[in-house]
Symmetry: C2
Subunit: 547 residues, 2 copies
């Protein structure tokens, strides 16, 4: 039996495009001699459709798409992910299904048993878990068909009480197929490979795994679909960060004596992050039907790295950088920024914020007279820049890119409605120390980012001689504390016991918690870590915990 894995980039709710894409892949797989072509989880709707799943009209459109696809499945069978109605009269209204299409119609429906409901996942919001298990007979083979998380209940402290593979093994399957929607983070490929390999080894069965490629707003699907031998060795894998289709012979996989895993992807973590961000920006624009990006280029490292990523995603001709110096900007900030824009070959404008700043001083003078310069005036500068960027964006149809990094977002070192503006946050899940790594990675072959941008002490340049280190711990320490608090959910005692200064720990944790109100209003953030701000981290605002 020949099995094609079709790793496609779907667009949520774009039924026309998704259906055409799937049908084209069915034809291609058939032409190349496949007996079965496998698509990803919820391929028909795109993943995650979120609360669109609550609309009958949306579900009807999913089913209509499946009907169309099924018509092409006469000389080939297909597996396609689709939400279906729960007709049992009890429980959540839908199942997350893998539909088996053959002879022009749906011949089997398999439902997902283990519904992820943590971090960015909300599947129990919509779906009732499966409780009935059976394999699918096709061309004399028994297929154990599973959906993503169904294979993930391994390890010592399983997150679920049930284990679908234990049930399916009773039917003596010949192979495992897993259709997934597994978004990228920098450790995900390693985890995924380990878990799928365990499933292959434990059950002594080949595993065929299909993922999505492409981004849906903040979620970056890295593709990397895989095939495992019954010994748990990676037989082959599909491309990373792009669409791909590949055909495998079941017998060949089953009897392969491969001792070494195949791996075609990036192995360097920072390279993975770079590629994920480029794909994220590219897909965000494409799926919204926009071409042109805009950003404020300060001469600092965050906007520099964001600009490079934007140019790589959209092309230099589609990216416009705006330099907005003030009285507090250092000379080199402007020259560094211009140098970078010229290195990249993208359009830039220099617009002073002086006149606007003076006008607000005058306007507010009746209220502020005699009061000292404080955070108000710092924020004012950032907000004037925000207004200018949004005006250009409105006038010419750019999307503004947010350039804040994760360290800033964490401690609230940024101005709401100012530099925190943007349609999408490119670096909001990248700590400052990782932004430096990204800059080095970008510069490794040729010095694209001016060295001065990388080496000078970080500063918001909102008052004379300001440095980030005036109000924050050194980024090495800050990022370490943030990582342990945010990614690892370690508390104050655990951190202090590690030797971090008590006052620093308490200050940082307080800053993170009291700035929840700011993060609530920031753009969606391209997710590259296991715990990004946004839909994956849900915090109360009025709470008083560690504050």
């Amino acid at each position: 039996m020949k099995i094609a894995l079709a790793q496609l980039n779907y667009h949520i709710g774009n039924f026309k495009e998704n259906t055409e894409k799937i049908r084209m892949a069915v034809r291609k797989a058939e032409q190349q001699g496949a007996d079965l072509v496998v698509f990803a989880e919820l391929a028909v709707s795109g993943y995650p459709p979120r609360d669109f799943l609550e609309f009958d009209d949306f579900i009807r459109k999913c089913h209509k798409a499946v009907e169309e696809i099924a018509q092409d499945c006469t000389d080939i069978a297909a597996i396609v992910g689709c939400p279906v109605k729960n007709l049992t009269g009890k429980g959540k209204p839908l199942f997350n299904a893998a539909l088996f299409l053959e002879n022009g119609k749906v011949s089997h429906e398999t439902y997902k048993t283990l519904l992820p409901n943590y971090d960015i996942f909300d599947e129990y919001r919509y779906f009732e878990p499966n409780r009935k298990f059976e394999t699918i007979q096709f061309k004399g083979k028994q297929i154990a068909l599973t959906i993503c998380e169904d294979l993930w209940n391994t390890g010592d402290h399983p997150l679920y009480v049930a284990n679908p593979m234990h049930e399916l093994m009773k039917y003596k399957p010949d192979l495992i197929i897993n259709i997934a929607a597994s978004p990228f983070h920098y450790d995900q490929q390693e985890i995924r490979t380990r878990i799928l390999s365990q499933n292959a080894k434990n059950n002594k069965l080949p595993v065929f795994y299909v993922n999505h490629a492409g981004a849906q707003t903040e979620l970056l699907f890295d593709g990397g679909s895989m095939v495992f031998t019954p010994e748990g060795v990676v037989f082959d894998e599909l491309k990373y960060f792009e669409e791909d289709l590949k055909i495998f012979d079941l017998e060949e996989v089953k009897h392969s004596k491969k001792a070494q895993s195949a791996h075609h992807g990036q192995s360097e973590k920072i390279g993975l992050i770079h590629d994920a961000l480029v794909m994220g920006v590219r897909n965000y624009f494409k799926k919204l039907g926009f071409h042109k990006a805009l950003l404020g280029l300060s001469g600092g490292i965050d906007s520099a790295v964001t600009l490079v990523i934007a140019v790589r995603a959209l092309g230099a001709g589609n990216v416009r950088a705006v330099l907005m110096p003030s009285a507090f900007s250092s000379d080199h900030s402007v020259t560094d920024a211009i140098k970078l824009a010229e290195n990249l070959g993208c359009q830039y404008d220099v617009i002073s914020i002086e006149e606007a700043y003076k006008s607000f001083e005058n306007t507010l003078n009746p209220l502020f007279r005699g009061l000292p310069f404080d955070i108000t005036e710092e924020n004012l500068q950032a907000r004037i820049r925000g207004v200018i960027l949004m005006a250009i964006s409105n006038k010419f149809g750019h999307i503004l890119l947010n350039t804040s990094n994760k360290s800033e977002a964490a401690v609230g070192y940024g101005t709401l409605y100012g530099d925190m503006n943007g349609g999408i946050s490119v670096l909001g899940d990248v700590y400052k120390t990782q932004v430096f790594e990204l800059a080095d990675y970008i510069n490794k072959d040729q010095g694209i980012i001016p060295l001065n941008t990388i080496t000078k002490p970080p500063s918001a340049e909102l008052r004379p001689g300001q440095k980030d280190s005036d109000s924050l711990p050194d980024y090495e320490i800050l990022d370490d504390i943030l990582y342990q608090y945010i990614e690892l959910r370690r508390g104050p005692h655990e951190l202090i016991n590690q030797g971090f200064d008590e006052e620093t720990v308490k200050k940082v944790l307080r800053l993170v918690n009291t700035n929840e109100h700011k993060r609530y209003q920031t753009p969606p953030t391209l997710r590259v870590s296991p715990k990004a701000f946004g839909m994956g981290r849900r915090m109360p605002i009025v709470a008083r915990y560690l504050t």
Copy 2:
């Protein structure tokens, strides 16, 4: 047996305050002769603690609080809601528990079975459902102790497969206690009463129900704890929108021949919304430790109603209104706004945006020269106002109130980083037609809001002669379509079949869906409807559905 219901206003993560409050209520109940005092679901932590539940430190603090409370429970017993660790080694790491405290310690742990995971609820994110059922013996009675949703699996299409009361009835309980965290929406009290009454009647048992009072950011807990006779009649209820403690004699409730339900609350829907919003604003400020509010007062109805609510929540002395007329403002806008501020007795400032507007015209002139006035310049005015309001807020320590209504938020009729700014959205879950009702309700005794503000055609006043009706359908029609799409999840065909104009329906639905990116960055919204924007409505941004 005498049972006290303690309906308190908790603060998420504020263990010191919550514990003190609970201990004080334990003492008060004991002094008043209660045998048992019942607190709400997750009382110890406040509800919803959201992802703080993922922190061991947070859970440890919950347990420490319970230990302290238990020390007071020697001559009285207490039931208190608290998250506890799942020690079974399988499934989610926590249970949502009701702890029974007597003789100075925890004598029983009851876990929640039905975990709401829809709308604003995310309980399956954290908690493993209970699978073991038993009653609690106390003073010769068998108590069926349940947690909120555990009693909600009634009706023809139950959302859950299990039904805890079916299991508990096997132990022949003498009464049902339900501890809840049931947030307000304008129909919730009616639904709640019906469901609890059904439980009493079906099981022929008295029901003691305890809710939270007070707001946690957007979630408004309206209190209204209730006691039901075994015939399902409301024996008595506690106060609405505030703390309360009341003691009931079990035998008296059990043998009551009441035929008429007791109801002390507001019965008018718009009055309920009004009271909920006032409580929401008051609690938001109190729990954040702020006193002073700021808002832009335009002379229009939305900011007028918001101002009245803010004054009622915080006192006139704590609310500052800022009028920011432009060349496009009508004269009456300023006079109406001043009249209202004077009627309420709150401070107001008049600040022209003219100079700032001109300065941006000059600043952007090199880029915009020769291009026509468009949405850019409209947004510019709104953003200048946003900058002024945030500057005053930063300088003097006010929280800015957002004054957008739900109709605007739905169709994106507002400027991001302009009039969509604010710490909390007061009217963001109130459709424009309901804002008019609120204005009438506020004006019913005395004409607080100038009549002209209510009767003039709504306008953003961002270009000459502009009216909302230039770009939107009449609010009667718009709100009807929005309500059916947002609250009822009806699709385009269902709406068109009702007789709505096809083009209008498609336009409105497209506006709702394409403005998801704006709503993503708006403040949390006080929730008064069954489907508010924010945590209860989760939509993709890059989707292409009905657009």
